[in-house]
Symmetry: D2
Subunit: 467 residues, 4 copies
C-alpha cells in the first residue's frame, strides 16, 4: 500500500546528504514562490515607474506579494489545468490584492515572464551560496598549499607512483580550479542573469509604447540584466549558467575524488578530521571521508542535468511546447546538486588532516626508483648518456627483482661511486630534492589566488550585493 497524506511529501530523507548546505532553502517551494511574487511586485512597480498604472495600485500589489499569504501546494495542484503555476498564482494574488488595484496585477506579462524571472532570482540566490562555499573551499586549499608548500608526496599518474611532487602543489591545483569556477560563476551572476518581460508573444504589446521602458524598469527593480530582446525561446542564459555549474561540480568532484584516494587505508596521506563522523563502531580502523564521498556523489548528478538543459534549448516559435516546462526541475536540481557538492567539499577540504609522514613513507615504498631519471641525468656528463641510462636501468631492475632499493644497488656499483660521491648519491635519491618547480608553482598560484580574493573583496565592498 503506498502511503498517502494530505500534506505534500518532501524529499527530506535524502536532501541533507544530496541537497546539502544552504542551497536547499533558497531553491524550495517557498523560495520559488517568493521569487515569482517578487517578479509580480517588480512588474507593478515598473509599470508605475513608467506611468502605465498608478503608484498606489503598484504599492497595493507589492504589499500582497508575500509568500506567507500563499499555499504552494494548492497553487501547484491548480497548475495542472494550464500546465504552469503562474496562472493559479496570479488568480490568488489578484484575489488578495482586491479592487481597484487587482485590475493591474500581472499587467502586460505572460506566465513565462514571471517564471523565467523567478528562475533567475532563484538561481542568483543559489549561486551566491555556491560561490560562497567554493570560495571557502579554495581558501582552505590555499591554506593547505601554503602550509605544505615543500612537503614531498608521490606524484601519481594512472594511479601509479611516477615522480615526486609536493602536497602543496596538489593543493594549489585544487585551489586554482576552484578559483576558476568561482570567477566564472561570479561573472555570470553579474552579467548573465536577465529579467524576462515580453508578454504573450514577446512583443510587449499589452503595455503599448511603454513596453520597452517597463521592461527596463522591471529588470532594474529585480537587479537583473535587461536583455536586448525577450529570451522566451532563446535559452542561452539557462545554458550558460548550466555549463558553469557543471564545470564547478566537475572541479568539486576532482578534488573530492583525490581526497578519497589519498584517504585510502593503504595510502593514508589525508583524512577528514571531523570527530564523530565517518567512523564505525564495528570497524575501528575505518575513517570514511564522508564529506568527500558525498561531494563526489552530488557532483555526479550534474553532467546529466546539464545535458537535459542543453537538450531543452529547442524552444519552438514564441513559447515552447514542452521544452520550457522541461527546464524547471533540472534547473532546481542542478543548483542543488552543485551546491551540495560545494558545501560538502568546503567541509572536506576545510577539515582535512594531512599525514606528511605517510606521504614520505609512500614515497620510499619503491626504493628510490622515482628518482631513477634524476640520477641518470646527473651521471650523463661523466659517463655519457647511454652508459648512464643502462647502468641505472640495470640497477633499477635488480632493485625491483631483489626487493632492495636503488641506493643499495648504485652504491655497490664501482662505475657510479667513481664519479659520484656518497653524499651526492644520497642527495640525488632524496625525493625532497626532486620536486622540481613545485614550490615556485605554489607561490605563483597563491599570488594569483590572493589577487583574485583581493579584487573580489574590493568589488564586493563597492557593489555591496555579492556574497
Amino acid at each position: 500500500m503506498p502511503p498517502s497524506s494530505s500534506t505534500p511529501d518532501a524529499d527530506a530523507l535524502f536532501d541533507p546528504v544530496l541537497a546539502h548546505g544552504g542551497v536547499r532553502a533558497v531553491t524550495g517551494d517557498r523560495a520559488w514562490l517568493q521569487a515569482m511574487l517578487d517578479a509580480e511586485a517588480a512588474l507593478a512597480g515598473a509599470a508605475a515607474d513608467c506611468g502605465v498604472i498608478e503608484r498606489g495600485d503598484a504599492d497595493a500589489i507589492a504589499a500582497a506579494c508575500d509568500v506567507a499569504g500563499f499555499d504552494a501546494a494548492a497553487i501547484g495542484r491548480d497548475a495542472t489545468a494550464t500546465g504552469n503555476p503562474v496562472v493559479p498564482l496570479v488568480r490568488e494574488l489578484t484575489a488578495a490584492v482586491g479592487a481597484p488595484a487587482d485590475a493591474h496585477v500581472h499587467r502586460g506579462a505572460t506566465s513565462q515572464d514571471v517564471l523565467d524571472s523567478a528562475a533567475m532570482l532563484v538561481a542568483r540566490a543559489a549561486v551566491d551560496v555556491i560561490v560562497d562555499d567554493l570560495a571557502a573551499a579554495a581558501t582552505a586549499a590555499a591554506d593547505l598549499a601554503r602550509a605544505h608548500r615543500d612537503v614531498p608526496m608521490a606524484g601519481r599518474t594512472l594511479l601509479q607512483q611516477a615522480v615526486p611532487t609536493t602536497f602543496g602543489c596538489r593543493a594549489a591545483g585544487w585551489m586554482t580550479g576552484l578559483d576558476t569556477a568561482v570567477t566564472r560563476l561570479r561573472t555570470i551572476r553579474a552579467t548573465g542573469l536577465p529579467a524576462q518581460l515580453g508578454g504573450a508573444a514577446g512583443t510587449l504589446a499589452a503595455l503599448g509604447d511603454a513596453g520597452p521602458d517597463v521592461a527596463t524598469a522591471f529588470a532594474r527593480r529585480l537587479d537583473l540584466v535587461a536583455p536586448v530582446v525577450p529570451w522566451h525561446t532563446i535559452r542561452t542564459p539557462v545554458a550558460e549558467l548550466s555549463g558553469a555549474l557543471g564545470t564547478a561540480a566537475g572541479v568539486c568532484a576532482k578534488v573530492a575524488r583525490d581526497i578519497t584516494l589519498l584517504a585510502q587505508t593503504e595510502i593514508g596521506e589525508v583524512s577528514e578530521g571531523v570527530p564523530g563522523r565517518g567512523g564505525s563502531s564495528t570497524m575501528p580502523h575505518k575513517h570514511n571521508p564522508v564529506a568527500a564521498v558525498a561531494a563526489v556523489a552530488a557532483a555526479a548528478a550534474a553532467p546529466g542535468l546539464v545535458a537535459t538543459l542543453l537538450s531543452a534549448m529547442v524552444h519552438e516559435h514564441e513559447r515552447a511546447a514542452g521544452a520550457w516546462h522541461a527546464e524547471w526541475r533540472p534547473w532546481t536540481q542542478l543548483l542543488r546538486t552543485t551546491g551540495s557538492a560545494a558545501a560538502w567539499l568546503r567541509d572536506s577540504v576545510g577539515n582535512l588532516e594531512v599525514h606528511t609522514e605517510r606521504m614520505r613513507a609512500n614515497l620510499d615504498l619503491t626504493g628510490g626508483l622515482p628518482q631513477a631519471e634524476r640520477v641518470t641525468a646527473a651521471l650523463t656528463d661523466a659517463l655519457g648518456r647511454l652508459t648512464a641510462h643502462d647502468l641505472v636501468g640495470a640497477a633499477a631492475d635488480r632493485a625491483l627483482a631483489e626487493g632492495t632499493d636503488l641506493h643499495t644497488q648504485l652504491a655497490a656499483e664501482r662505475d657510479v661511486t667513481d664519479v659520484c660521491p656518497p653524499d651526492e648519491l644520497v642527495r640525488l635519491l632524496d625525493p625532497v630534492g626532486a620536486t622540481g618547480n613545485a614550490a615556485a608553482l605554489v607561490d605563483r598560484a597563491l599570488a594569483h589566488h590572493d589577487r583574485r580574493v583581493a579584487a573580489t573583496s574590493s568589488s564586493s565592498a563597492a557593489v555591496g550585493h555579492t556574497s
Copy 2:
C-alpha cells in the same frame, strides 16, 4: 532573504505537473522509509526462518517496522554523520523495538543491503503505476486505431506532407510502441528486481553458514528476485531498469510530440477534449494540448537521468565511494519523470478528439500532388514509363505554379484523357485509395495488441500480484 522553516520544504509547486499521477506518492519519503522498514522486517523474518534468531524477536521487529513511528526529516538530518539514512533509521528502529529483540535488528546486514532492497521495492511500486498508465494509453491508442482504421491522413516526413496514410495507422504505431515498453517493464518487474543482502563486504559473514539461506529467504519475503551473488557494486539491475524507463519515456515523448504537432492551429487534426483545460480567456482560439505538452516535458528529463545512472555504475571494490549515493536521487527522479510522462500521455490519448474533416482538408491542400506517383504508375502501361513520368511531372509543376490542382491539369491533358476515363482519374487522385496497406497493418497491430492484453490478463490472474 531566503525563506526558512522548521518543516522540510517540499517541491509541491512543480510536482503536480512534473511528477504527475500515481508515481509521486510511491516514491516519496514515506514510501522510501516504509520500504527500508519492510526490508528490516523481512531480514528479521528471514533470520527466524533459518533459525538464526527467535521467531518472537523477528515478530517484535516486524511490529515496529511501520513508517508511522518514524520521522523521515529527522532521520535524513542524522544521515549526514555517515552519509546514508540507514544508520540513523536502524538506531531509531532499535530503540523502538526494545529489549530483547533489539539485539537482532539489522542483524547481518549492511546499510546498502537495506537501501538497495528498498530501492527495488520503491521501483516495483512505481513500475506498477507506470505500466498501468502506459497500458491504458496503449488501450486508448488501440481504440483510436480501430475507430480510425480507414481515415486518410497526410503522411508526413521531415514535417512535409508526403503520401497518404491513415490516422488508424499512426495510432497503431503509437500503440505498438507503448505495448513494447509495457512488455519490457513487466519483464523487468518480474525477473529483474533483486533483493540485496551481503553484509559488510558482500560475504554474508555475520550470518555464519546460514548466510546464503537467509539471503534467499529475505528475497522470498520481499517477493524480489534472489540474486546469484550480492550486487553491491555490480549495478546491472539499476542500469537495466533505467534503460527500460528511458525507452518508455522516449515512446511517450514521441506520441505526445505527434499530438502537439497534429494539434497545431494550422493543422488542427486532433485536440485534447478536456473541458476547462488548455483554454485562454484572452485568446479564445487557443486549445493548448496541456497533457501532451506536459508529457513531452516530463519525458525530456529521462535521458540525462539514465546517463547519470549509467555513469554511476562504476562502483569501487565492495562498496562505492560516491557512486552508490549518486544513484538515489536520479533513481527517484527517473521513476517520477517517466511516471509523469506516462500519466499525462494516458490523459492526452484517452481524451483525444480527432477531427477527420481537417485531416481530409489538409490532404487536399496540395491539390492531389501526393497522389502524383500513383497516377504515373497507372499511366505507365498505356504511355510508357518515361512519357507518363514527364507528363505528370509537368502537370504537377503547372498545378504548383498556378495554384490549381493536379486533377485540373491532368483532365485538360488529351494524352491523359485518351487513356484514362474521367472516373478513373478521380479515383486515382483520391487519397482514400492511396493509403496502401494501412488498414492491414492496423489489423495486424491490433491483433498483436489483443494477444498481449489477453496474455497479461491471464498471467495476472494466475500470479495475482501484478498491477
Copy 3:
C-alpha cells in the same frame, strides 16, 4: 563477412552530413598530428628561448615537425602499447630529427603536455570555423530581421497561434541568440585556451629552474594562454569550451527547429531556396528543408557529448587513469557536430525564402481571434471592462462555432457599433496593428548586433588573427 582493408576506414559516408563544413578538415588525423608536432616544435623553440638547448637543435627539431613526414595510422596503431599516440610520435620524430638534436626532442615534457596543447590548437582552429559560420548565420538573420521588420506573423505558443508578432522580431531573436554564442566562443578563444606544460608530475622538474620560463615561452609560441599552473587534472578549460559549444549547438537547434516548423506544408511561411536540394521527383510538392533538418540532427549530438566531457573532469592525482583518454573522441566529436550545426544553419538561414503572403493567410485562419484581447481593451472605456469582455467573448465563441470571423460577429453587434466606428473595428482587428513593440525590438536588436559586428571588425583588424 566484415570488410577489411590495410588502409584505415574513414567515416566518409556520414561525415558530409554530420561533420559538415570546414570543421571536419581541422579536426582530422592530419590536423591533430600537425598540432602535436607544432607543440613539439614550440617546446624546442621555447627551450632555446630560455637557453636550455641550442637554437640550432631547436631549429632542427622544428624543421622535422611537418605532418607530411608521419603516418597517422601507424602511430595510432603503436599507441596501444602505452595508451596514447604521443609516445610513438616522439619516437618517430626523434628518428626523423637525427643526431645531435634528437637528444632534445620532447625534452621536459610528458605525453599529456603535447596532447593537451594539441587539443587546444585543434579546438582553436575549429572554433574559428564555427564562429565564422555562426556569425554568418547571425548576419543572415539580421538581414531577415531588417527586411521583414514589419511583416506580421502569427506568434505561436505551445504550437498554437497566440497573438501576432512580426517575422522580423522572430529573426531578431535568432540573431541575438547566435550573436551571444559567437561572443562567448570568441571570449574563450581569446582567453580560455591554455597551453599545457608540466612534465611527468606537473612540476616541470626535468627543465630545472628554467621550467616556468620555458612554459611561458611555450605558450607564447603557440599563441595560447599561459596558465597559472599546469592543468593536467584540473579540466576547467575543457569544460568551459564544452559548455560554450553545447550552448552554441542549442541555439542552432532552436533556429533550425523553427525553420522546419515554419516550412511545414500546412504553414508554408518559409522554405530553403536551394535549387536541386530537398525536392523529390515522385513527390513534387515536397520541399524538404534539408539544411535545417541536418542542423537539428547535428546539434542533437552535443548535449550528450558535453555530459561526457563534464563527467570526465574527475582526473585522479597528477594524471588520470582513463578520464584523460576519455576526452579525446568526445572533444573532436563535439567540435565537429557543433561545427556541422553551424555550417548547415548558415546555409539554411542564408538561403531562406520568406512567404509573407502565407504568414498573412495563416494569421487570418482564425478569423481575427488573436486580436480579441485588443478589441476588448479598446471597448473597455466605453462599455466598462466586464461588459466589453463578455461581449467580445460571446462573439468569439459564435465565430468559432459558426466558422465565421470575429469581424462578422462584432459588426452585427449594436452595442459594439454604437461605440466603435466601422473603420476603427477593421483597424482593431487588423493583425498589422497588433504587433506591439515588435518593430522597436527589432531596431534595438539590430543596433546591438551592428555594434557587436563593428567591435569585432576593429578588434580583428588590430589583433589580426581572429577569423
Copy 4:
C-alpha cells in the same frame, strides 16, 4: 593552415585505443555500405519471392550489391543534396544494375527502410564482436574466481578497508556482471533487431497488396526480426540496444576500475602481465595497467551516447525532421566505444597477474582490526555483549594509537586470555577465517556461469549463427 586532402581523413590516430578490437572494422564505411547493399539485395529478392518482380531481375540486382563497386566517400558527398546517403547509393546501384532490372532497384522502399535495416545489420555484427569479448572476459574472470576462491583480500568500502573477502569472490562478482551483460545482448541480438520496410509513409503502398508479404520475406532474408508494423518513428529497437550497450559498458568500467585501483603502487595486488606494455624507461617502477585504463576511457563515452539516442526517440509523424539523422553517428560510436571497452577488458582480465602475498600484506596493515567485530562476537558468550564490545574497542583504540596490532593488545588483556586460549585468539584474528560465505558464493556463481556457458554452446550449435 588546416591540412586538406582529396581522400577522406580517417580517425586512425585514436581509433586503435578508443575503437579497439574487432568492432571498428564492422562499423566503418565499408561495413555500412555493404549492409545497405545487403538490404537492397534482400529487398529485390523478397519482391521476387512474392512475385512482385522477376527472379532474374532480383538476381541481377543482388549481383551488383557488392561494396567493392562503390565509393563511400563519393556517396557521402552526394548525400548532402537530400540529407541521407541512400539516395545517391540507389542512383549508383541503379546505374550499375543496368536495364532491364534497374527499374526494380529499391522498389517499394524509402531511404529509411534501407538505412534502418543496415543499422540493424551493422549492430548485429558489432554485437557479435562485443559479446565475444565480454564472454571471454567473463571466462577469464571465472578462471580467476576458481583459482583464487579462498585467497583472502581486504574487502574495501568507500575505498577504506572494511572486513575480509576473497579475491575469488571479487572475481566472481565481475564474472556475474559480465555474464548478465552477455545474456541481455544475446537476447536482443536474437529477438530485438528488426528489419525495416514501410515505404514512403510506412504503408507499403508502392508494393500493393503484396506489401506485408514482401516485408516478411525481406526480414527473413536478412535474418532480422519481422516487426509488427514499420518502426520508422517508434524507436524502441534503437533504444533497447542502446540501453543494453550502456549497461555492458558500465560493467566493463566497474571491472576495469577495480583493476586500476588494485594495481595502485601502494596496493599492488594485481598487475597486467603483458610484456612490453605499460612500462616506462624513465620510471622503471611503473606498471601502468594500460588495458584497464583504456577500458575505463572507452566505457566513459557510453552514457552520453545512450542519452543522445534516447533523446532522439522523438521522431515526428511518419519520418523525423532531424531525430533520425541524429542517430547515425551516436549509434556507430556507441557500438565502437562499448566494443572497445569489452576488447580492452578481455585483454586486461585475461592477462591479470594476481599478487596474493600483497593481498595478505595489505590485510595485515591494520593490525587485525578488520577482525575486531569477529573477536567481539566470539567473546560475547563468555563476557556479555557490552563488556566484550568495550574491551575489544579499547584494545583497538590502543592498537591504532600505539601503532601495534590487535593481537598484541588482546593478548596482554587478562580478561581476554582467561576465556580465550592463545590459539583461538590467533585463529579469530586470522583474516583467512573471516571471509564468511565467500567460497560458497564463488561456487554458486561459477555453477551459474557454467550453466550459462553450456546453454549458449548448445544453442549456438543448434542455431549455428551466433558468434
